[in-house]
Structures are given as structure tokens and as C-alpha cells.
Amino acid sequence: MDLRDTPEEAAFRAEVRSWIQEHMPDELRGHRGGAARFEGEALRAWSRELSDAGYSGLTWPSEYGGRGAPYSFQAILFEEMARAEAPPHVGVIGLGMAGPTIMAHGTEEQKARYLPKILSAEEIWCQGFSEPNAGSDLAAVQTAVTLAPDGKRFVVDGQKVWSSFAHIADFCILVGRGDPEAPRYQNLTYVIVDMHASGVEVRPLRQITGEAEFNEIFFTDVEVPRENLLGEIGHGWQVAMTTLLHERGTLGFALTTTLEVGVRKLLALARERGADDPLTRDRIAREWIELQALKYTNYRSLTKLMQTGIPGPEGSGVKLHWSEQNQRLTKLALELHGPEAQLLDGETGGFWQFQQLRSRGNTIEAGTSEVLRNIIAERVLGLPRSR
């Protein structure tokens, strides 16, 4: 056990820290996220800079344009970005979900075609999993992915929903029903859909924040070349599990990074407002302590990942706890504003009001808290299945 950086890690940290200092535009510091990510070119340009410097896909193998770095470097990058309040690379679905899935199940042609442009933010990806009648129950998707009689293409018909980035995306990783007759879990097919293809229609959904970060996607007779198949026909469930494993496996550090920024801002706010009553200080300390708990849980999980190639089960609760903590933290921040908590054009320009409303999505997106508790109960604790 040694929580210090190794000499290599320390050198990397120093490199990243000075790189961010030199390259990050001031107006991006403390970027509030949300739909503002899509406005203008600033975040795409920042993402490209991260990529050119070799900071996107740090842990990806070098043959796919990554740096082949150990996972600890990824953690250091996240920590340093949090310290500088730097916004993340805009291609989160591509980097965190589509890329790893293509690496695990894709053909060499697919890897060569898609991976470099995920890293460079030249192409943005979205995810087509959830449907109006298939949310937590992914195996119930109804969108048809039918192999055409000539065997050379699929035809996609159906509707997806809650798809972040779809309105700016170039590609979609989509899970649909390949064979309506096959039993559950053996009937799904996983394909890459060109979002610019004919028959794809994206309708933004306005959220509780007033912004549109996510969308509905309608697919009407959309033709998808056979070479866009990931895995095999009917094996979409297994491929989707890879995607979700990566979503939950690598997400912990990214989420904890955003919380770290939140706690830093909360502390600054509390100092500024002279929050000196014991109750408030108690609540602030709780946020600080639980941030450390998440952070060191990530470290434990990371160590296991580096030693065995598989993240430990302890990380399974990180997203669950993070989401509930972020909801609590943002409410506390609003409370510190006192009677001005309702004002959107106050000193912080609606930053905390936005974060508080946005945080309600945290316990729903990327696995609802209910599903995550089921997963922990059944797969970690070994309790009998509830379904």
C-alpha cells in the first residue's frame, strides 16, 4: 500500500498540471456542463487539444491511437482536471462506451474506421438503448434490426429515447430486436447506425432544467450496412453488457471528479458567505468526507483493476452513492444562498440552480438507483433474484 505517486506517476501529474495551465482557456474553467456543452466550438476545440496532447483514450492501446498508459494515469488526469475545474472531453459516449465496445467486439476494419475519430472528437457518438417501453428492462427493446433478404444490410425501425448528444451525433450504438422469435436475451442485435442516414430523425427533449441535452430518435426504414454489425446477430445482449460494464466501470472516476469540483465550489461559496453555524459546517464536512470515501474507493477499485484486469465489486456502489450525494450537495449550496436561492441571475449566474435541477437526473441516468441496488443485492451480496 502506497498512496503516493510513483516517480512515473508524479512526472505525469506534473506534465498534465502544467499542460492544463498553459492550454485551458479561462472561459472554460468551472464550465457548468449541460446543454451549454453543445454551444459554439469551444468545447470541441478543447477536446481536440486534449486529444492532440494524447490525453483522450489514455488507457487505450497504442494501435488504436491511445497512449497505452496504466489506469492510474487516467485517475491522475481526472484529478488534475478537477483541480483546474477543466471540462471533460465532449465525446463521453464514444470514449466511455462505444470505443471500448468496438475494441472488445469490433472487426479490425471497424476499429480502424471509428476509434481515431472518437479520440479526436471529430465524430460524436450517442447511445440507442432505452425506449419508451424498455428503460431499466433493456432486454424488452422493440426497435427492429432486421437483416434484409439480400443479407447485405439491416433495416432499422423503431424509437429510442433519452439519448444524450443525439442531436449532434454522427453515430449511434443501437441495440434492437434481431429475431422476434428467439428467446429473451438471445434475440438482440447490436449495430452502429450512421446518424446522418436517411430515415433518422432526432427530436430534442426539453428537460427539467429547461435545456435539451437529450433526445428522442426515430428510425424509419433506416438502412445499415452489414459491416456495421457489432458481435453476431442475436448476441446483442452480450455486446450491450460490455458497453454497460464500461459505463459503470470507468464512470466512477469521472463522476468523482465532477463531485470534487462541486465540493471545491461549495467550500468557496461557504467561505464567501461566511457560513459559520455548526449545522452548516457539519453538512459541509459530511460532503468533504464522503467525497474522500468515493475517491479512495475508486483507488481501491483501480488497484484491483491494475493487478487483476477486473475492477473489484467495491466500485459498484460509487455511482449510486455519488448520485445521491450530488443531489444533497447541490441543495446545500442553494441553501447557502439564503433568500437569493431562487435568483437565476445572481452572483453565480444560475450555476447552482442549474446543478441542483440537473442532479435529479443523476439517480435515473446510467442505471436508476433502484436497478443499481438490485445489481448489488443480487450480484454482489448473492441475494435471490427479485424477478
Binding site: 500500500m1 498512496l3 503516493r4 468533504w288 468526507i289 468515493l294 483507488y299 467495491e314 441496488r373 441475494l383
Partner: protein, 306 residues
């Protein structure tokens, strides 16, 4: 960065776990033979010359087994105050120690000496009726005090208690999981019901978070890191609350049997509350953390560079 115990430390954990499973109430002389009393005492004084991380492993396992002897009092509390001759007698099992904190002495009746602010005292006085009967508190009688070579180390003690709390929480969780898998109502094991299983999932998450904080604090103590004070306060605050909550949820999951004197759960529950109360309730510790984090000079988010 490497946040895992070594193979040797994991082996010590396995040995401790299987020994305590066979023998949950070992004699003090057996702990001396096992080398647990002198883990961090130098080899020249008859110890093993290891460090606090090895002791942390033992605190956790002893908490899990709800060990009732004065191991925490001697090794977790008094040790840093002792001189060489005293340490040699601790390692050999000849002397058991405790310390007076907030006017109270843990395990006064089962130790030989007590560390006080004024020096070492004979363990004489009145044992007080204590909620956790496995770790009774006492009040020292007046008497002679002889000077001591060292002084207590609160961070080290709080880290030890955090590790012990993790062991308690884990055992409460394990007992609850076994019970709800087995217990049938309405024709199904009750663990199938999400009103039951989701609470245990929460216990799991909190126990893992507590473990991360406890190991972080243990490492800081072992390394003499400047963050030891704040890490130990954070760890003890969170882990003791997690242990109390784990026991409460376990009692609820057990239904009526969990509320009986006969079942072991109430003893874990009382130990969890003992840990919560000793040398600073969670709220008091959080006040220390807040003072530290709110200091203008700090950014509140430590990043360690070697």
C-alpha cells in the same frame, strides 16, 4: 499508487479470521504467542517490527469477531505512550494497558496499567456499568502517577476504531445477508423483497466507503503522513456511523429474533455505539474536519505528489 494490502498482510488477515472463527475468546497469552500484541513493537523488544497497517488488519478482524479482551485498549490506545521496558512486557503478554480519555478508562478491570495525562497509573478504580458489556468503561482511583516515555496518539486510535467499525459493519451485513436468504415468508426467501434487499445494498455501499476511509487513515498513520489527523477523524466519523446503521438494518432484517438478548446482533450494535461515542462523536469529528477544510489556505482537496 497502490491501494491494496500486501500478500503477507492478506495472509495475516486470513490467519486472524480463521483463528478467531475457531476461538472467538482467546486467552491473552495466546495473542502474545500469535505475535499480535507486539506487531508494531521492535524485534529487539520481542515484537514483530511491523507497522500500523498490520495492526489495522487485526483491528478489523477483531471487530468482526467482537473480541472482548483489552487489545484495543493496549495496542490501539496506550501503546505510543509506553517506554521500551513496558513495550517489551506488552509484547510478551505480561502487561496490559489502557488509557484515560475524557475521564473514562476502557477495560479498566482487565488491564494492569493506565496511561493518564499525569503519567502511568495502576489500574485501580471503579468499573462502571456500560452498555457494551464487552468493553466496559471505568473510572480511575486517585493514586501515584509515574512519568511515561511517550504520549497518546489520537489519530492512531481513531484509525484503529475506524478499522474495528468496518469489521463490525461487515459482520452485521454478513449476518443479515445469510438470514434473509434463508428466512421464508409468503413462500419466498425475504431477501427477494426489495424493501429488504435494498437496505442491505445500502449497507454494502456504506461499508465499502467506510473501508476506503479507514484504510486511507491507516496508511496515513503508518506513514506519519501530515493528513493523518484529518483522515482519522473523517474515517472514524463515517465508519462508526456506518457500523451503527449496518447493525440497525441487520436487526430490522432479522425481525423479532434480531431484537432478542439471545441473538448476537445486539452485542455488535452496542460495540458500534461504543466506537461511535469514544474520543469524539461523529458530529464533533466533523466539526474538526470542517475547521480544516474551511481554512482559506486549503483547497480542501488534497492531491499527493511524492
Amino acid at each position: 499508487m497502490n491501494f491494496s494490502f500486501t500478500d503477507e498482510q492478506e495472509q495475516l488477515r486470513q490467519e486472524a479470521r480463521s483463528f478467531l472463527a475457531r476461538k472467538p475468546e482467546p486467552q491473552w497469552s495466546e495473542l502474545a504467542e500469535l505475535g499480535w500484541l507486539g506487531v508494531s513493537i521492535s524485534e529487539a523488544l520481542g515484537g514483530a517490527g511491523l507497522g500500523f497497517l498490520e495492526e489495522a488488519v487485526l483491528f478489523e478482524e477483531l471487530g468482526r469477531a467482537l473480541y472482548a479482551g483489552p487489545y484495543f485498549a493496549t495496542v490501539g490506545l496506550a501503546l505510543p505512550a509506553l517506554g521500551e521496558e513496558q513495550l517489551a512486557r506488552v509484547a510478551s503478554g505480561e502487561e496490559r494497558w489502557s488509557a484515560e480519555i475524557d475521564g473514562l478508562v476502557p477495560d479498566l478491570a482487565t488491564v494492569d496499567w493506565v496511561v493518564t495525562e499525569a503519567g502511568a497509573a495502576r489500574a485501580e478504580g471503579e468499573t462502571l456499568s456500560t452498555m457494551d458489556e464487552t468493553r466496559q468503561l471505568g473510572r480511575l482511583a486517585d493514586g501515584d502517577r509515574t512519568p511515561l516515555a511517550g504520549s497518546l496518539d489520537r489519530s492512531r486510535t481513531l484509525a484503529a476504531l475506524a478499522c474495528e467499525a468496518v469489521g463490525v459493519a461487515q459482520q452485521a451485513l454478513d449476518l443479515a445477508v445469510e438470514y434473509v436468504k434463508d428466512r421464508q415468508q409468503f413462500g419466498r426467501p425475504i431477501g427477494v423483497y426489495q424493501a429488504v434487499s435494498h437496505r442491505l445494498a445500502d449497507t454494502y455501499v456504506e461499508t465499502e466507503l467506510a473501508r476506503s476511509l479507514a484504510y486511507w487513515a491507516a496508511w496515513c498513520v503508518a506513514e506519519g503522513d501530515e493528513q493523518a489527523r484529518i483522515a482519522a477523524a473523517a474515517a472514524k466519523a463515517f465508519a462508526s456511523e456506518a457500523a451503527v446503521a449496518a447493525c440497525e438494518r441487520a436487526i430490522q432484517a432479522h425481525g423479532g429474533i434480531g431484537f432478542t438478548w439471545e441473538h448476537v446482533l445486539h452485542r455488535y450494535y452496542k460495540r458500534a455505539q461504543w466506537i461511535e461515542a469514544f474520543w469524539g462523536f461523529p458530529a464533533a469529528l466533523r466539526a474538526e474536519v470542517a475547521d480544516w477544510a474551511m481554512e482559506g489556505a486549503r483547497d480542501g482537496v488534497p492531491v499527493r505528489v511524492a
